[in-house]
């Protein structure tokens, strides 16, 4: 099982990596709230937001290419949401809201920038902290226990799914010397069905193994988190700068 699906670069050492996970979670959450609350059409502020985000990326040493590939995964949804606005206005002009001082394209770009800022910040968060520590941080922040357990199990089962996809793909390719003779859709469909069945069965076995070792709905952890004054200071500065930009002070 591969264990670097989300936190591939969490083992790097950087000032961002060294921050307490709680500080990172709260800072990212507040940053997203601040950025998303920008009024539509306020494009100029995003220059500053992106400079700050670029600085964070540079400090974190997470490769830019990795971040961009992650952003690509969600791009269809973001681009669709941004494109939907001018398209809907074009199709039904009567629906056009009051864009005083900026065009619908400005509004659309704002949506795009907001979404990408949020995605980059979230990818940065998961790339600079081990998933288990993020879960611990979430737990320490008094998030409902069930949410933490579901997230942890989901994270574990992603690997089972990936594992099964790899195995069935190898099995398929080993018996496919040239092009697929059968209809591709049918073959891929069969493979996908098998992946789900096998993953379900495997997940069941993993869960049995957890139960047999006393699992009772909560992941144990002896690791503790240490919140330092400098971590809090960094978070206040970061959120403070964003707030200053947002309020245009």
């Amino acid at each position: 099982m591969k264990h670097d699906f989300l936190d591939k670069y969490s083992n790097l050492d950087s000032p961002i990596h060294r921050l307490d996970p709680r500080v990172k979670i709260l800072s990212v959450f507040l940053a997203i709230v601040i950025i998303v609350s920008e009024p539509l059409g306020e494009l100029f502020h995003f220059v500053f937001y992106f400079v700050i985000i670029a600085l964070l990326v540079g400090l974190s040493r997470v490769p830019l290419k990795y971040l961009l590939v992650r952003c690509l995964i969600v791009s269809p949804f973001i681009v669709m949401a941004a494109a939907f606005l001018p398209l809907s206005v074009k199709l039904s002009p009567e629906l056009q809201p009051d864009y005083s001082g900026y065009s619908v394209y400005h509004a659309s770009l704002t949506i795009l920038f907001k979404a990408y800022s949020a995605v980059i910040l979230l990818v940065l968060l998961t790339s600079t902290e081990k998933f288990q520590r993020l879960l611990l941080g979430i737990r320490k922040l008094k998030m409902p226990r069930l949410v933490g357990v579901i997230s942890a199990l989901m994270y574990r089962y992603i690997f089972l799914l990936t594992d099964e996809v790899l195995k069935t793909t190898r099995a398929r390719e080993s018996r496919t010397p040239g092009k697929l003779k059968k209809s591709k859709i049918k073959v891929y469909g069969n493979q996908m069905a098998m992946v789900f069945i096998r993953s379900w069965e495997r997940a069941h076995r993993v869960y049995d193994a957890m139960l047999s070792r006393g699992f009772h709905g909560e992941f144990p952890d002896t690791r503790s988190l240490r919140l330092s004054g400098s971590d809090v200071f960094v978070a206040i500065i970061f959120v403070g700068i964003l707030l200053v930009i947002r309020l245009g002070i």
């Binding site: 099982m1 591969k2 264990h3 081990k130 288990q132 574990r156 690997f159 594992d163 495997r202 076995r205 993993v206 049995d208 193994a209 957890m210 139960l211 047999s212 070792r213 006393g214 699992f215 009772h216 144990p220 952890d221 002896t222």
Partner: protein
């Protein structure tokens, strides 16, 4: 401290289909190494899952003085450690250390004790130095030993192992047999690899279509060609092969 196991009229079926276990009755003594062999689909793994309360059928499963039921499940899981057939089903934490600590932490042991248990379990399995490694980077033999270490760290009175010898090379089988023989616990070994079971168990049962058809000394049962053949476990062809390999 090893404890005994008592199964009485244990029956189980997964759905409304046919019974996978039929009135299984057997008693295993404290500290005994007990092997269960049988052809594929005989119900061996299903039987093992009953020892830990993962599955519960009709009849009684008793671990020491404790009858396995909903009320006693936590106590039973503390007493019985299960080692699954595929170590990848058992190892799901990012590091070997975390996987071994998982059981003891679930039972509420403090950090210091858990670290001590992890260290001891790794030492017993000749895995010292593997603490920070990722399980999926290890060889199958090493993963199997880590899986056993995850259970050892819980210091169970009973250790039940599902196909411990499968897919291991002869040297690893020998090493595992030595390790198993040195454990201070009641051992239940389920396997299709009959020879290692014969070599390291005190007693053996043959399971066929969910029923125990024979219990006795492993060598005596394995030598009963008719019995073994009727259960699809005939070993006599090994004799021919060994004769060819080691003439005289």
């Amino acid at each position: 401290m090893p404890t005994g196991i008592k199964l009485e009229n244990l029956s189980f079926s997964y759905s409304r289909g046919k019974k996978v276990l039929k009135n299984v009755t057997v008693e295993i003594q404290p500290g005994e190494r007990f092997g269960i062999i049988g052809p594929s689909g005989a119900g061996k793994s299903t039987l093992l899952l009953h020892l830990n309360g993962i599955l519960s059928g009709e009849g009684t499963v008793q671990i020491g003085e404790t009858i396995v039921n909903k009320e006693s499940i936590a106590d039973v899981r503390r007493k019985v450690g299960l080692v699954f057939q595929n170590p990848d089903d058992q190892l799901f934490n990012p590091t070997v250390e975390e996987d071994i600590a998982f059981g003891p932490l679930n039972f509420g042991l403090n950090g210091e004790t858990v670290s001590e248990r992890v260290r001891e379990a790794l030492q017993a399995m000749n895995l010292t130095g593997f603490e920070k490694l990722t399980s999926h980077h290890l060889s199958l033999g090493e993963r199997k030993r880590v899986a056993l270490a995850t259970v050892l760290a819980m210091r169970p009175e009973v250790i039940a192992l599902d196909e411990p010898f499968s897919n291991l090379d002869p040297a690893m089988v020998l090493q595992l047999m030595k390790i198993l023989k040195g454990l201070d616990a009641t051992l239940v070994l389920v396997s299709q690899s009959i020879l290692p079971i014969v070599a390291c168990c005190d007693r053996m049962a043959i399971l066929k279509e969910g029923e125990i058809v024979a219990v006795g000394p492993p060598k005596q049962l394995a030598a009963n060609v008719e019995l073994m053949r009727s259960c699809g476990l005939d070993l006599s062809f090994y004799r021919e092969i060994f004769k060819e390999i080691f003439p005289g």
